[in-house]
């Protein structure tokens, strides 16, 4: 029983990681209708910026918010400079551009900061605490809390603010939005900015757990895709919950299902993507998208 609870707790902790990156993926999908494969690397790069500031002696929260600002502007610029020219190109072109960005960010980070992993501080207490025989990491809980806060922020933003509504409209129906006077181009750029910001939060929460190196997001991104697919690419809450489910299922299956064991854990995530896409393509909480043809 103790092992079961400990595996669930540890699954929730890793699931929180997946959920936070999935949230950034959903954010950009909602705001621009693009699946951004470079999301993880952008988050990693933002985390390096935070690391540089912390290393230069900037206090944690100052570095945290400065990083968010830089990430936001960076995301905005990427949209303006790199994505804009291929805006009306086929989906495949955009995907390839995103993969190009992924490789570029990865290599530049390696070139600037080397591939040696670096410890990244956590704003939460170091010491894990113990309830019964089960250990809870203070950082894991804190990170999950931060992810939920971001989620709440996104929910309110997209539902109740004019800007949020305008962004959703611009992503879903650019032509009508433009006729309503929404500056669609800028809305898409803002979407990239916000997604980069959400990604930066995720990066700074993940780095204390997996340690900071240029490849820190490569594995996580796959699980984040599984989470977002499971929860639904149109549902931020679903993405976070999807992350937690993937994390826990992965641990339990790895522990209790003998023939899967730890060797096929990644396969479990990929199988989840496949099953969801076959059975319920919009995910558990996503709205089915209908396109008029």
């Amino acid at each position: 029983m103790e092992i079961f609870v400990q595996q669930v707790v540890s699954g929730l902790a890793t699931g929180g990681i997946y959920g936070s990156v999935a949230l950034a993926l959903v954010m950009i999908y909602q705001a621009t209708d693009v699946v951004n494969f470079a999301q993880g690397e952008m988050a990693m790069f933002s985390t390096y910026l935070a690391w540089s500031m912390l290393n230069a002696g900037v206090p944690y929260w100052a570095a945290f918010f400065a990083t968010l600002a830089v990430a936001f502007v960076g995301g905005l610029l990427i949209e303006r400079v790199v994505i804009r020219p291929v805006e009306n190109a086929p989906v495949l072109t955009v995907v390839i551009v995103c993969i190009g960005l992924l490789v570029i960010f990865n290599s530049v980070a390696g070139w600037l900061y080397s591939y040696i992993q670096k410890p990244f501080p956590s704003p939460f207490p170091e010491k894990p605490f113990k309830i019964g025989d089960v250990f809870f990491g203070a950082h894991d809980l804190g990170a999950l809390g931060v992810t939920l806060l971001v989620l709440l922020f996104l929910y309110v933003f997209f539902r109740y603010t004019t800007l949020g509504l305008a962004m959703r409209a611009a992503a879903q129906n650019p032509v009508s939005s433009r006729l309503c006077g929404i500056r669609v181009g800028w809305m898409l750029a803002l979407g990239w900015g916000f997604a980069a910001l959400v990604g930066a939060v995720a990066g700074m929460m993940i780095a204390p757990i997996v340690f900071l190196d240029p490849n820190m997001m490569s594995g996580i991104l796959i699980y984040a895709f599984a989470s977002a697919t499971l929860g639904g690419f149109t549902s931020p809450g679903g993405a976070v919950l999807g992350g937690l489910i993937v994390g826990v299922v992965e641990n339990l299956v790895g522990t209790y299902v003998r023939f899967i064991g730890t060797e096929l854990k990644l396969t479990v995530a990929l199988a989840m993507i496949l099953i969801v896409l076959l059975v319920r393509p919009s995910g558990l909480f996503g709205r089915a998208t209908v396109h008029r043809v």
Partner: protein, 404 residues
């Protein structure tokens, strides 16, 4: 008619000198009176690019050798290409090195899967494939692959050392193993199992694997702790070693922790994981760790630092890979010196297979390089060390796998 015969004549005129020069060059390709050309591949891009520094440090060392007059009057022309740790690319690059660039031999190609891909090709082409940068066991097989030679102690050797230590020092051992699910991890596991012999089945409580793509190994550590293991055999690359040390500490698991040499760097692994959490770790070493304070006044280490500053200023002086590269480059220079004037491929191989008690400045005291026509494992000695919270403290005697 007339024109085409003119073309033919011109062609013969152009190719003639080549045809004449051909046979002489074929005797020892890549070697001129003033130069010897050496080929190499390294992952300068892609997921394994942390290793890329080895290729850069090798190139820097040969620049130093050339600045000091070369080897036996010959300068070293070191051609190193990026294979991105991708075996098909390694094949392409190495073929280019051999067939187009006409290198004398191939040296320190990095990676187990990548070297496996060129293993047969180089042996068929009879091109020396020297001191490969991998600890797999298959590189020391002169009977079937007389042109390939390893360098570092094999992962299996290291596994043996830990097995002996456990058998002698831990009375009621229950061993939990965490390993990377590939050739590297499995070699280490085979090493300890072979070393434990009959007792292996009884002593190993649980084996857990992870994939390089896994974000964390928390779940595995939880299972290992739960298995009741009092010995933790940690076969992970630095990225996961840091996590494993920290997680085991965080959930209050205090086994005898055997950490594989791959991740023994103080600054890269132990410091990020926490020095307190790293206390009492045990590993097997053969090189001096540049971040270990006990070597601060060591003459060899000082020379290395001067070399790094002068020839590889961008390189990280905390990175043990740069020590590794420096040492293996010195090993090669020793072989080339021993070759004298005869740099034919046969002689290069012959000399590589007759290194006697070569001590190099950054090998641990007492560890020597030895090869023979039947022994293609240059370094086979390692010594155990325990981390005292600041540095690795060597203990016990130097273990020699060659003297089994």
């Amino acid at each position: 008619m007339k024109r085409s015969s003119l073309v033919a004549l011109a062609l013969i005129g152009a190719l003639g000198p080549l045809l004449v020069a051909g046979p002489a060059a074929a005797q020892s390709p890549g070697v001129t009176p003033t130069e010897v050309k050496i080929g190499n591949t390294n992952p300068y891009s892609g997921p394994a690019s942390a290793y890329g520094t080895i290729g850069k440090a090798l190139a820097a060392y040969f620049t130093k050798v050339n600045a000091e007059g070369g080897v036996n009057g010959r300068k070293i022309d070191f051609v190193t290409l990026d294979d991105g740790y991708s075996p098909p690319k390694t094949v392409e690059m190495v073929r280019r090195l051999v067939e187009q660039d006409q290198v004398a031999f191939v040296f320190q190609t990095l990676g187990t899967p990548t070297n496996s891909a060129i293993h047969k090709y180089l042996n068929q082409a009879k091109v020396p494939h020297l001191f490969v940068a991998t600890g797999a066991t298959k590189w020391g097989d002169p009977q079937h692959f007389p042109w390939t030679m390893g360098w570092q102690p094999t992962y299996q050797t290291e596994g043996h050392i830990y097995a002996q230590y456990v058998l002698r020092n831990v009375p009621n051992a229950k061993i939990g193993i965490l390993y990377q699910n590939d050739d590297y991890g499995k070699d280490y596991v085979k090493g300890i199992k072979d070393g434990l012999g009959e007792a292996a089945k009884k002593l190993i409580a649980l084996e857990q694997s992870y994939e390089v793509t896994d974000p964390t190994i928390d779940s595995q550590i939880v299972n290992l702790k739960n298995s009741g293991a009092n010995v933790f055999y940690n076969v992970t690359i630095p990225k996961f070693a840091v996590q494993a040390i920290k997680k085991a500490h965080d959930i209050g698991w205090k086994p005898l922790h055997l950490l594989n040499n791959v991740s023994a760097s103080v600054d890269v692994v132990l410091r990020p994981a926490g020095l307190e959490a790293s206390k009492d770790l045990i590993t097997a070493l053969y090189l001096k760790d540049p971040t270990d304070p006990q070597w601060r006044n060591d003459a060899g280490m000082k020379d290395w630092l001067v070399f790094m500053q002068k020839y590889y200023p961008d390189g990280n002086t905390k990175d043990a890979f740069n020590v590794y590269a420096y040492t293996v480059a010195q090993g090669l220079v020793h072989v080339l010196k021993q070759c004298g004037k005869d740099l034919s491929r046969e002689n290069i191989m012959r000399q590589a297979a007759s290194i006697k008690d070569l001590a190099l400045p950054l090998l641990l005291p007492g560890i020597k390089v030895n090869t023979s026509p039947t022994d293609f494992y240059p370094i086979e000695q390692e010594q155990l060390a325990k981390f005292d919270g600041e540095r690795w403290v060597l203990f016990g005697e130097v273990y020699d796998a060659g003297k089994k």
